[in-house]
Structures are given as C-alpha cells and as structure tokens.
Amino acid sequence: MSPEAPMSSMIPVAKRQVIADGTARPHGSAAGAPHFPLTATKRAAKPACVPTRFGRLRARWLEVGEPALAVFHWEIRAFFLRPAAWVMLLTASLVAGWCFAWLVTLLARGGGASLRTVDDPIVQFLGPNLFLVGLCTLFVPVLTMNSIADERRRGTWELLLTSRVSVGQVLAGKFAALWCALLAALAPWPYFLAVLRVWNGKTRILWGFIPWFDGSGVPFDSGSACGGILGLSVMAATCVALGLFCSSLCRRPASAALLTFVAMTVLLAISFLPRVLDVWGFAREQTDWIETLSCWGQLERLCRGTLRPREFVAQLSFCGTLLWLTAWVARRVDDEIKIDLGRDEVKPTRRTPRRWKSLIALVLALGLANSAARLLPEQVDLTHKRAFTLAPQTQNLLTSLADPVEITILAPREPKTAADRAFAQAAVMFRDLVDLYRQVQPSLVVREWDPRTSADARRLLQLYPDVTTPCVVVRQGHGENSRHEVLHARDLAEVRIARGERPPVVEFFGEQALTAALARLTSGRKQMVVYVLTGHGELSLDDDEPASRQGLGVLAAQWRELDIELRSLDLRAAQHVPVDADLVLLAGGEQPFATDEVAALSRYWAHGGKGLVLCELNYDPQIGGPAGSALESVLADYGLLAGTDRVIMPGVTGSIEAAAPGLPAAGDHPLVRSLSPASVLLYECRSVRSLTQVSHTALRVTPILVSHPAPQAWADGDFSPGVEPEPGGERDLPGPVAMAQAVERRKGDLAQPVLVVVGDAEFISNRSLSQPSGRSGSSFALACLNWLRGRKDLLGDIPPRRNEGYLLPGTPEEQRGLVWKPTLLLSALIVSAGTMVWLSRRGS
C-alpha cells in the first residue's frame, strides 16, 4: 500500500452497510465511525425497515453469542494446533486402552455378577477408577493452566478484555472449549464401551480385503452407561471450572498448574472423606452432605444408573459459582497489578464492589434452581431393569407407614465365619435398598450394630431371644409391645455360579423380604383360620416331635407366630367345612376320603373356599401300586391330576434319591415370583399334571414347582417290586415334571386363588422342617398360604433384582484382539490427525 493512500479508499463500496442517512459504513463498525458516501442514490432512498423479530434475535445473538462463540472456536483451534494436545489425547487413549484391557480381563474370568451395581465391572470401568482419576488429576492442570494465567503472561488478556466482549463471554467461551477438550480426552472410555457392546473380537474379511465385525459383543445396561457418560461430562465440567478458577488466581501457568493439581487432589480427598468418616464411626446422615460436593461420588452414582436431581443441580451450581468467582477474581487480579513506580506511597483507596448485582443474580438463580430440584424426585432410575426403583406396593406401604419402624443390621464389622461373609455380601446391597426405602419414608430408622462389640446389639438380642446373628431385625414399637421380623442372608440374596455358557447370576430378593416383613408388622394381626383335615392318616397337628415324619407341630408353631390359627377338621363328623375357615389344608393321608367328605370339600371350594392340597403317594401292597384318595374327581374338576407316579432324580453316584428338588417354574405368576429361588426338597413327590380337557374354562392352572429337565429327572410310573426305576418307561413322564400347581378362578379381569396342589406332604413334616434345608419348605408353604389368602403385600409380589454376570465370548486370542485392535485403531487415528495438523502448520 502506498503510504499516501487514504484509508477510506481501501473499504470496498459494495460491502458497506446501508444506514438511514444515506451513507454507508462497514457492518459492525462503530456508530461514530466515518461514513462513506454512496455511489448509488437509489439505495439511499430506500426507506428504513422495521427490524423483524428474527432480525432482533440475530442482532442479540451477534452481540452476546457470537463473541463467546468466537472465543470458543479460538480456544478449541489453539488446543488442537498444539502438538502437546495430540500427545495428551494419545496418552488418554492408551490409558483408556489399558483400563479396557483390565475390564476385558475381568469379563473373561467370568466375573461380573455382583450384589451391588457399583461392583459391576462396566460401572467400575466408566466410574472413578484409578486410571480415570489419575488421568483427570494430571490432565486438568495441564489443560487449564494456559487459559487465563498464560494469557496474562503473554499480554493477550488485556487485548481480549478491551474488545467488545465481557469477562463473562470470554469465560463462557474458554470454559466450553476446555470442557470439549477434556471430553475429547475422555472420549476413549465411551468408545471402548461401544466397541465392547458391538464387537466380540472376532473379525471377518469382507470381499477379501475389508476387515469387519463378526459377532456381537457383551450386552450391558445402556441406561447406566448413558448415566456414566453424563457423569463424565458433569465431572469434566466441574474440573474445568476448578482449573479456570485456579488459573484466574495466578499470573504464571506453572503456578496455575500447581494450584489446580492441589485443588484436584483436595476434590479427590473430599470424595474419600465419607468413607474415612464412616470408618471413624460417623453416621451416614452426618456425612451425606459431603457426597454432594464430590464430583467423583456423583460420577459413581451416575455410572450405577441413579441420577439424584438435587445433587446434580448442586454440582452444576458449584460449577456456576466457580465460574462467577473466576470472573470476579480475574478482574480483581487485573486491577491489582503492582507496578514499581518508585514513588511515595499513599493510602490505598477502598472502592465499593461493583459486582453486587451479578452476585445477587447468581444467588437468586442458584437458589431457584436448587429449590426447583427439591420438587423433583430424590432419585431418578436410569437403568433399564429399574434396579433403583421400588415396587409400587413397597412405595404404597412405605407412604402409609404411620408408626416408626427401626431396621437394625446386626452383623460383625469383620466377618469371620462363612455365614458372616454371606450375610456381609447380602448386606451390601441391603444397605442400598434401605437407602431407597428412606428416600420414600424418611422416618425409617436404620441402625447397624456389631453384635460382638455393641451393647445396644446385646440388649436387642436379649429382648428377642429368637434372633440369631447375622441378620436384619425389623422392629415396630418399643419395649414389650414391640413386634419384630428377622431377615437372614438366605432371605436377601442368592448367588448362582456360572455354568458353561450361562453367566453367573445374583438374585437379590431383599425388597420382597423387607416389604413383606413391614407389611406383616404394620397390617395388624388379622387372624386367619386354617382347618387341617384329619381322620385319614394326615400329618398331625398334635405331634411336636422334631424327628417325626407324621407331625405338623413345627409348621403349626411357626404359623401361630404369624397369628394363623390351625384347627383340626374331621369331615366324617362335621359333614361340612366350617364357615369361618379361610383355608383347608390337606396334608397327606393314607386312607381314601368318603363320598360325603369329598362332596363337602367340593362344595366348600366351589363356593369360594380355598385349599392347600398336599397329595402323598400311598403305596398299597395289595394292589402293588399307588392307592387312590378319592379326591381325584374333585381335582379333575379343577383341571388337575395327581399322577400315580413319583419324581425320580438320580444322585451324583447314580443311586435313586428319595428326595427330588422342586424348582420355581418359569413364568410371571405372582406365586412363582414370590418364591425364593432356592429349591424345595420334596420326598417321593407325585407329579401334578394339568388336564388338557378342562371343562371349566374359567379356571387357570399354573405350574409352580417343577423338577429338573430330562434326563436328570422324570416321573416314574413303574412300581414293580425289585425293579430299579429307569427313564423312558411306558407310564413315565419325562422332566421337567410339574410337582405343584396353582389354580385360579377367573372373574372378568380378576383371578381368585382357589387351590394349590403339591405332590408331596412330607416337606412340611416336623422332620423336614427341623433340617437346615427345611426353611425353603416352610417358606414355600407360607407363600402358598399367603397367595391363597390373597395378601399380595405379604407375598411380596415383587420381582427379585437379578444381576447377571457377563460372559465374554470368543477365544483368549479373540479377547486379546478385542483390546489391542480398537486401541491401535484409535491411537493410529490420533497420531495421523496430529501429524497432519503439525505438517500443515509447519510451512508457516
């Protein structure tokens, strides 16, 4: 340019903005800038237009959004132009690959089924693990140290703040850019998770040269994975805001990095503080508020699949406060730059802070947001299997709780025995469950005492001699008027180990147990009357001998504890079932029923009565086979047939066992769902078959207990003396054989329970219930009783929480490929992109 050339001549006329007075100036130039005469008077004569709504919005955006966006683009561009940024991204991808290798190793071992979602390997991979925490603690200082401190050092901060941009806009742009940069560094974690979901390490070649996926990967709960990604984003935002704040305090990048590192360490320490305080004996209620401050704790909870809106908003408020403080501190530091002028000192002038308005606005906004968050549910369940959502009946029960209820976990802090360890595992998830209960009903009192060291625990054990530790005691009321329920480990959870292609499974039915216990405690002692048939050799109520196979005294004692009154009923004398009978129990019997008795029973059941029929197999030596009970016709009316056979299941040695385990049948029948997954041991059990030609279409027959499938088990109909039972006989029925069936009478959409028929009665005898395995039998009988009684809350009609382990397919070689191939691909992409950027800038 010639020095003599006037500056106005360099502005092209065609690009000038028309203004109302018939002159033009460059768009965006100041109002007082010189105007250049238009060459075309036609344009000058154009009337001024009233700006449209869109025009006003656009102008507002140009004023407010565009500068922040410009800072964002500039920072992002600056980040990706630095070779150090690509080294950082490469390091992050390698660390994530290492973490992924650890995850794949865990999955390859067949682990994964855990009582707690927090112990889930996928949750641990995406959550605050050593790799992720270490990476963030080191990366955030490096990433944010240049943001403000380096701008000050280079003198560009002054240039930036004297442009048409406010500190807030600069910080918004910088924050967004650094946040995106940190998210880019954390992106390998979701990337590897996606790889795990879609690919199992097997590769095939398409058209001879394109490698492609072959076979899908490991399915996992995408809800908690999405929660984890959300948690990573929030955690990254918090870290970046913290880094920006530290950078605003310093004038040297190294100081800023050091300060940020210390702050990140403090943040990490805050996350660990509740655990430390827990060890020191602080109650969880006292340390809960610390959890709110911890971004790592928030990440952990989101990875598990729970979003707590209050904590989430509090975390965002923390970010917002840090950003506001950053803006405030940045200007304070700028204002207090000291220059040695070598002059006499004067008394400093105290100035009134001018940020009150923004502070009040911030406080109001945060207060409003946090108040609004309190209107939201305390916890939002992000998981697909609704692992953190209580069943509706539980919620109804909890909201209707009027009297205070105490839940006391009596377990040693350091488990020593196998029972202690089993309970400790179940208690881990039980504590999470109780937290959910307390979110619905805060008045629930939860205590945890060590029975070996706590005097309170000893007092409780003296008060309730029937309680054996480790257990959970649910208590309502105080002193002698109090009532209690006891839950043991077997009531809470069951772990099934992996078998072949089946992954390990953990089933937690603590909600069933606890809700049922609460319902029993709070529903009052409504007496139930059960008539036990006698006169045909049935199990006797009067027989309390623990070793007796003919006694029902043990079960009767248990049921009486639950306010169930058992009365004997001899139909030969009574002729009919009493009207106050809630249920008729037929427990075995050797002699057939008379016609009148059968008619009385039939009448009773036909008019809404209910029955628990336990059919014994009676071998009659005279006929050389099972004898009939005369109830066959009644059962047939309800679509059932008690088979003249017995369920056989050879033992491990091949010998024929007298007992065969009955497993809960598949399906979603309320009674089945309420059953413990533990098998019920039935002795010489008859098959209970469903008749296909049921005339009464209003009935529904559902198998409740079934045997193992063939060839492990079958129903053998051959009673020839001296002949070993063999499967495949003419009268045999291959497994799985129904060993118990439930019958409901349908009335419109309603289904009313009528009968439960089991092919064995001995499982509730004194002898069986006195054995360790007898617990499953009594639970089963009680579940049937409650179902027939129509008390779904007592049943605990709540599905168990099932945590299935992961089964990583493929050979070890393919599993190794699952790790190194995606890692190599990602690293190669980063290196290529970084090299291209470097080469493109090198020429300058």
Partner: protein
C-alpha cells in the same frame, strides 16, 4: 469523537499511578501522551480502554461512561496495548479473523475488512505467517491492524512505533495521519521526536500528573536568541534593554570579560539591531544562537521546572 477525562486517579495498592488527570480531546486529531518511563501513560490508556477501573474520576468517550458503560466504550475504541499480540501459534490473518469476530464484524464483510487492515499496515506479504515467527515490528503492526478493524472513531495506541525500523515508522505515521481524518487518536510515547512528528497536541504526564497540555503549533520558534559579547555586564544589559525592551533581556551567565544574554520574543529586525548595536559599541560578538522552542526543550523546561519546584 470526543474524549473527556475528569480528575482521573488510579491507585495500585499504596501507589498512586495517576493523580488527578483531566483533559478534553476533540475529534479528528492525533494527541500524544508523553512522559518519562513510569509516569502513568500506559495506566491512563488502560483506563481509557476500560481494562482498568479508575480509583476515582470520570472518563467519557463519545458520551459513554467508561466505568458505568464499558461495553459502550469498547464499541468505539481500537486499542493497541504495549504488549505485543503473542498468539505465537496463530497466523496473522487468523489472529485478525478472531479479533474481527470479537468486534462483531459480520461474516460477509469480515474478509474485506481484514484485507483492508492488512494492506493498511503492509502485512499482506506475511498474512499466512505465524505470529510467533514474525519480528517485533511486524507483530506490532499486526496489533495496529487489529486496532484499525471496524475503523473505530477512537484509537488508543500505546507506543505504536516502538521496535519498528525507520521505514516502518514512517509508514505507521502515514497510517495514523490517514486515520486521524475520521478518528481521534491518543498515542503514548516516550520518544519526543516521534510525538513532534505526528501529533497535533501533546499531553505531558510526569509522576502521574498532567503537567503540560500544549498544541505543537504553539511551540514554533519565537525569535529568541542568545548572544555572547565581550563587554561590561551592567552596561551591556542596560543599553540592550534600552534597545529591545527591559523585559526581553536576561543574563544567562557572565564573567569579568564575557557576558551571555538571552533575548526573548523579538523579531528578526531586533536581532539585526542588537548585533549592529554591539558592533557599533565595539563589543566583540563571539556567538549568536537561535533558541529553539521544540517539544524536547519544552519537555526539558517543564521537567526542570518541576525539579526546581520540588527542590
């Protein structure tokens, strides 16, 4: 675009960097802010540019209060800070693109505006070079190009020519002269010839106080001169006062033989008359020297006067 500063004060902790500075600047002029190092020039510019808040006093630029409405002021100013733009990994045009976006220049005309400023500052040849690899002079010109974006009506330039070679200094002066046609330019410098060459008016700041506000055309030579003659001092002074007036003659120094007199505010004819008078009296004239009334002498005079006052 006018700049009005009233009783401006700025404290850095216990130090008062600017103390009660007031001035009015009208539009279309180049005003120099001169003073020794550490006198508070940059602080005044920083306050005018809204980077620093004044401890007291008022600043109005184009009617906008720099304290209450800094955004309004920023829309009117182009600012070149003393520190050079140090985005070392950015190219020149990338830097200007970023700055243009910050200044709200619409995308349609942004490229044209950048080209204009690049051409104005003779940066076209290095527009694709990284700022970090440019010389100090080029980087300062890049900063100047940034200040010129949007043709602001007020330009605040802190040492705009420092680090430039003579040719670049000359070009920069031309740019500033061209810009002064439509903008008020306030530049700070400690190079007095620079201020003399480009400014219409000079504000002199010493120890944070405005000690002089002069228009350069007032500093033209006024015919004062010094004459050294061999004559008795008392007689010489008395007779010359009779010739040119009693107030115009002052003794600068004198001894038994020679006396040096300063004769102020006289015409060329008076000078000739004095010489003729001396020759006629047979007083030997050893030296006759015109007293220059330039900025430097003004600066020295003012600062010496301040020192004398302080003493």
């Amino acid at each position: 675009m006018s700049i009005v500063v009233r009783d401006l004060r700025r404290d850095f902790g216990a130090l008062r960097a600017v103390d009660g500075v007031s001035f009015d600047l009208s539009s279309g002029a180049i005003i120099g802010l001169i003073g020794p190092n550490g006198s508070g020039k940059s602080t005044i510019l920083r306050m005018l540019a809204t980077f620093l808040r004044p401890s007291a006093g008022q600043i109005f630029i184009g009617g906008h209060d720099a304290v209450r409405d800094p955004a309004g002021v920023r829309r009117l100013i182009g600012y070149l800070p003393e520190e050079l733009p140090a985005y070392s990994d950015a190219r020149v045009d990338e830097f200007l693109e970023f700055r243009a976006r910050l200044k709200g220049i619409a995308r349609k005309v942004r490229r044209m505006e950048i080209d204009r400023c690049l051409a104005a500052c003779d940066l076209v040849a290095v527009r694709r070079r990284l700022l970090g690899k440019l010389s100090q002079g080029y980087r300062r010109r890049a900063g100047l190009a940034d200040a010129l974006l949007t043709s602001p009506p007020v330009l605040l330039l802190d040492e705009p020519t420092i680090g430039l070679d003579p040719l670049q200094v000359r070009q920069t002066r031309e740019v500033l002269r061209a810009a002064s046609a439509h903008a008020t330019i306030l530049l700070s410098t400690h190079l007095l010839p620079e201020a003399q060459a480009v400014c219409d008016r000079v504000l002199m700041v010493v120890k944070g106080k405005l000690v002089s506000d002069v228009k350069l055309h007032q500093l033209e030579p006024d015919g004062s001169f010094e004459i050294t003659v061999r004559a008795p001092q008392a007689e010489c002074v008395a007779r010359l006062r009779a010739v040119v007036g009693a107030q115009a003659v002052e003794v600068v120094r004198g001894d038994a033989e020679w006396v040096t007199l300063q004769i102020r505010g006289t015409s060329e004819a008076a000078r000739e008359q004095v010489v003729r008078f001396c020759v006629a009296r047979d007083w030997g004239v050893r030296e006759l020297r015109t007293i220059e009334n330039d900025l430097e002498s003004h600066f020295v005079r003012v600062t010496l006067g301040l020192h004398k006052e302080a003493a």
